[in-house]
Assembly symmetry: D2
Homo-oligomer: 464 residues x 4
């Protein structure tokens, strides 16, 4: 059970340095205001739920403190660090994701031009470059070196997967005299950043660890949206259109598109919604069956007989029960449970099924994974990356640590890393998002034969 105290952000210590930003506290001077630490945003905006929480407890203090709130991001008037005197480091880890370069660039520009911090190091190839033994030296980052990187995909610093020794990484931060480490990465990276922040505190050091969560799957808890996600589903739409064209133009054509989504199907759901050409979306959150009168094979056959073609979008983490238990599947180098390749599995097994019933189907399979991951960000993601970067720098200068910069209801927030990584954000099958998907695809709310679910999920009126 999440409590409000899980949302208290750690501070390295007292803030004694004035911010160099020329902001104000007044509302009519054309100048933005500094943000105070006690500025917090509500997690819940349903009036009914908010009033239930508040009214449900006797003491006034108690009731307010039961409301989960996020600390507001933004520039602080007093800083913990003297920005001109410190060194900062940036590291990017894990798979590629659109926008990493915009975040790097944004951090460098903000540090350099707004806070006059001149010593900015980029550790290369992820956490690997933060271990002395790798033999990989960091590079000095200046506005000149990063000026144009936002227009290209990938990460200017290089990346890698896999764990490194936390002690060695903290050693290297000490060796280089780094005061702030910006970590750009996904779930595994964030967990490691938390361990680094803890080791720093154990050693009594005052090094700030600020994360910008990078997960193309958009699955970080308490973060409404992660950068690169909008770009990802936007580009995925192209592959769906290709699959649709291929399916439609051959007799009984079936287009299958495998998209990212290890535990959360947000990319698949949004890409399907945007394209309007998808008939079935399969996501990790909602189990499905292949066999039986209400399984995928059967409803797919019915659709082909009626419409001659079909498009399936499947998130990479969907249907993992076909590949055995998590224990049987083992872990990859990033520490994630290995996934069976559900795309190839569906392609092969659907082909087998139709062959077995002597029904000539034409299956076309598209896996655009790297094409999506390596793309530059679309403009809305560019803006988002820049703002995440600016707020990450504000947080770091104020001496915040062990936190990530998130967004909730359009407001930038600070979230303790441990809280955000406790569990993944998943699609709620009863959410408006999923309802829109079902309405747009016309697929049954439940693809399987369990009589209890079947009775609850009367098939919704189908679309053609």
């Amino acid at each position: 059970m999440i409590k409000n105290e899980d949302f208290i952000v750690k501070n390295l210590g007292e803030r004694t340095h004035p911010s160099p930003l020329p902001l104000s506290h007044s509302n009519d001077d054309l100048v933005s205001n500094f943000t105070n630490d006690d500025e917090r945003f509500l997690h819940e905006i349903s009036l009914k739920k908010v009033s239930q929480i508040i009214s449900g407890t006797p003491a006034e203090n108690a009731c307010w403190s039961d409301l989960i709130t996020f600390e507001a991001a933004g520039p602080r008037e007093k800083l913990f660090f003297d920005p001109e005197k410190i060194k900062c480091g940036i590291v990017t880890c894990g798979g590629l994701c659109p926008g990493i370069n915009s975040v790097i660039r944004g951090i460098v520009m903000e540090l350099y031009y707004r806070y006059s911090c001149r010593a900015i190091y980029g550790f290369r190839y992820g956490y690997l470059g933060m271990v002395k033994e790798s033999g990989i030296d960091p590079v000095l980052l200046t506005p000149d070196t990063v000026e144009d990187i936002h227009n290209t995909g990938g990460t200017f610093l290089g990346s890698s997967r896999g764990h490194q020794d936390v002690n060695k990484m903290v050693d290297r931060l000490m060796n280089f005299g780094i005061s702030v480490l910006f970590c750009i990465g996904g779930d595994g990276t964030l967990r490691a950043a938390h361990l680094i922040a803890e080791e720093i505190l154990n050693r009594g050091l005052t090094i700030s660890v600020i994360a910008v969560p990078k997960t193309i799957d958009n699955d970080i808890n308490f973060v409404e949206k992660t950068f690169g996600f909008e770009t990802a589903f936007s580009i995925a739409v192209n592959s769906i259109q290709s699959a649709h064209t291929e399916a439609r133009d051959s007799l009984n054509g079936i287009g299958i598109v495998r998209l990212m989504g290890r535990e959360s199907g947000y990319i698949a759901a949004n890409a399907a919604l945007a394209s309007q050409d998808v008939n079935y979306v399969l996501v990790p959150e909602i189990p499905f069956e292949l066999e039986g009168p209400h399984g995928l094979y059967s409803i797919l056959k019915t659709r082909l007989e009626r419409r001659r073609h079909a498009v399936i979008v499947v998130a990479e983490g969907a249907g993992q029960h076909f590949f055995g238990s998590e224990a049987e599947r083992g872990k990859d180098s990033s520490g994630n449970t290995k996934l069976g390749d559900i795309g190839i599995f569906l392609k092969d097994n659907i082909a087998k099924y139709f062959k077995s019933i002597n029904f000539k189907a034409n299956i076309k399979y598209i896996d655009p994974s790297y094409i999506i991951r390596s793309a530059p960000p679309i403009p809305s993601d560019s803006i988002f990356c820049t703002q995440l970067a600016q707020n990450a720098v504000h947080a770091a200068m104020a001496g915040k640590t062990d936190m990530l910069v998130g967004i909730w209801n359009y407001h930038f927030t600070h979230v303790p890393i441990a809280t955000a990584t406790r569990e993944r954000k998943l699609i709620n099958p009863e959410s408006n998002l999923w309802l829109s998907v079902i309405e747009a695809t016309g697929q049954p709310a439940y693809i399987g034969n369990d009589p209890i679910f079947l009775s609850k999920t009367r098939i919704m009126g189908q679309k053609d």
Copy 2:
């Protein structure tokens, strides 16, 4: 002063028909739930402000009712109309905007497949086609006719600007036996829709008028985002890149891009932020001067001397004081005050200035207006349009009227048209958005010579 009662949505009457949607009230059946009318969302999510409002009043009822809240959009369990028996009409008015076709398609698909409404008429060429005298007949809309329209820009129904007689329009609705009118349009369209709804009530009719606000400028009050806006600033980025390339590659090159934004500079601000190549953003909300030591000419010259090129983005409504008072400028056919062409004005006057000081500058001017307006929506806008359409249909079937479908903090809402059109949504010069713009461009917070503002807005550290 806006009060919570301004957010009460009108209903045509008692709801007696069961919804054909197979939804539930339970949270564990894989089936989405119906939305109740008392589901409301907070306007304000700052904990400090919320608690101030609530604590500031003695009686519990009173305090809660001081909080501004929006009625939640979504499918209702009981309907006012029997959807299979009614006729619906759709009309699209005003200038083009990316996504209109997706909204039309979404309304038709939702009416047809989810509510089994089969009589859907599209009025052609805006309100003009709603007046019998135009001689323009409506077209019957079916899933087949709208299936592929979302992939193209513009409006399948055609559009027009200008006012029509409200009585004649209501006459025609009666003649055709229309029970629901969906109006897709901007400020002027919404005001007319409000008048139509009032005339309907005056006549004692039960015709629902539901609006989907269409303003590429994103300037509807109490609506976080309007459809087409994200597409607009995304495409505008291309023109900025062109202007940047042209400016950079000639000696003392100045690229000027005029973007949409009659009263609100959101497109200019976001496009500039996304491109990172802009040096000055001029918006209607913030006045600026050309002459004098701190005017635009002077800071532009300084920039050219230092960097040899500059890029200016100007919203069409910026700097209107250069063209005389509103009275002097008159009104256009949509009833908006005519705007002087600030783009051409700047291009000509900046050229004159540099000629007058014998400084050879190369000015390149880009006005991508129609290229942006006529584009199809980007994927995130496609999704948004579809969801707006679905919620518009839900609202209509429930017998809501004189309202628009909006969004606030990611939740779809119902907003009375009169409330939303009372004034425009503007960029707050002290908001985080504008701060990001200033940080990204390096432009002064104030471009002018007024000593009071100058003293308040110390020039922020410039970017190169």
Copy 3:
């Protein structure tokens, strides 16, 4: 040995109908001229080769007839058919290719508006729809039905692979009273079209069979360029950029992109040239080895040690000797020899190699096949498709048959199908095109260990 008589195009008979096109024979009236049948274009444009051929033979007639020439395409003044009275059929076969819809549209528009032919049938799903037993009826095509199809990929008529009975297809043409059949398809389709044309002549019928060659691989002999090819390599560049980004941003990253090209590597060569980010291009025309000191493994390892990343582009038909003889590989439904999947093969074997030498490499594999095939044409291809279609109609109306519309040195030509399909067009390893590839990639002219080739192909100066 190809002789000039192989380029004589068959005619159905005497031309007695005047063309409805308002063209002229004069050069100063702003009106284009009709084309005569004796207008022919030189195959060879090298002065040296042309003069050798002509001078090499004694009799003047003989020498000119030794020059291979193509019959010029274009509108004829007299027609064999009376266009208002005949029925035409269109069929599209084989895999998708950008531009099919533009060709269909172009044929329909030209027939309808220029020749006033009103009975135009589209056979559906390839040759399958030309066999009565399929139960698939043709559709009537009009300007209205095809007006917007050029903006989408795929084929409006559907397609299929595989052979159908030639007699049954001719039967169906007779049943429908078709006078002209337009066949849009690749090598297999063209061979079948030739058989259809022969069967028609055997039966003493006067049905014209005109082909528009559709091969994304650009491998039709005596045809400089096929439609869709430019689009194909243009889109392939995106996948190469993705592979480059993925490779560059991980330590020892290897990006592998598999592109189309069963027997000819034109797409791979051109995409690599356009991207400038490729290090090795492997095509069917040039054998290569994996093992040994000069094999691919070895030079790849050297490159990684020097530059940390590499990009390989491989045409699907390259390296087929790794999969056994043609006999061992068998045939697919279109009658082509089955291809081993060289992309997956390289990916797996390169991974094995680096594992075996304990060298940590990161391999990213991209196969954009369907994304490319299903795309709409780029503008230059749109134009090309339209002009091919116009010339196909001109040829048909003149009573030409058993021929395809090609292009040579920018001039549209008529080529007998049997001549064009005798063998495939291949990249000449000593051509300027391949020289440009080698210069742009820096790859050795020969990747293998044969000492004779090694001595001839001194390694060209490498690029970084």
Copy 4:
């Protein structure tokens, strides 16, 4: 009258240095061959015309020499320069055009990696940077500095318009010890390059001047295609689609798109052909009238009455007779006759016309000029640029001078600058290209009232 002697390319002197390129003279060694100076390509490929020319003269030598032929581009076995010891310069002049950076990059890469030339200077801001008095120093170009420039539009070196003193430019070449100057520019640039080459010869210097023609209008004589042109018309298609959408979706909407084309309408013609949405294309080569029963106003009105919308594409140099004589219009800084703005002229006058007849028309005007000029090249242009650059370097190293690299019938050629600039390449109104335009648009071959032309150009069957 052009004669074959006009196509003889100047050489600086005897070639004594062996080429470092590892090419051969044999056809079966996987290695490309060197090109000999006597390799020439025919200008004319019509068999009839070629045989007429040859047969028309008595002496065999004479008859061959009457055939116009181009010297083949390509690597020579012996070089005039020792590439490791010389310095090269590159200059880019005039307006932006897609692909300039690819040409710069291609020259640098070829010089550096293939010829081991290490001293490559880029003169900045066009010919201005070649004059000492400008105070602008050249930059040293290496593979590192140009590696990624091909992915962005514009010119890495900057550009300028206008004349500079030829003597001063040659002085500067001498001061820097430049042996080869690569000039990338349009008509004016080429004329200046010719003057530079002549001054060099006058001074007895051995500096090679090699041009790569850059004209987005594609109007260089004896050059089939210039770089950037395909990109230009490809991007222009987007603006036409916008104009079409805007026109179609308002009542009596007229979309006007102004495109580049000072004297030649190739961009307008090709963009119109590719889009298929244009009704009237106006180009400089074909005069037209506005008034009268067969003028533009009248046929436009008829079209609106029939179809409710129309799209006009106008090349910037069309209809210049509306603005007075060339003398009256004067010259711009590049020495070209100033053009009246035909786009604005048409927009204003068409509006006036319809107002005068009380016909409510909606005119939307798009001028995408800088958006097109500043774009990066499409892939086919990238390849073309690279190959032009490679051949420019081959020519320079062989000691050719006062020539440009062109292409004719897909073969790269050398053309003396004076010959290529003698007159512009224009669209022949009776060519297949223009016939395709007329067929695709359905516009009359002649828009005007001259009875002689009217009688010759019976109106071709119109398209809807």
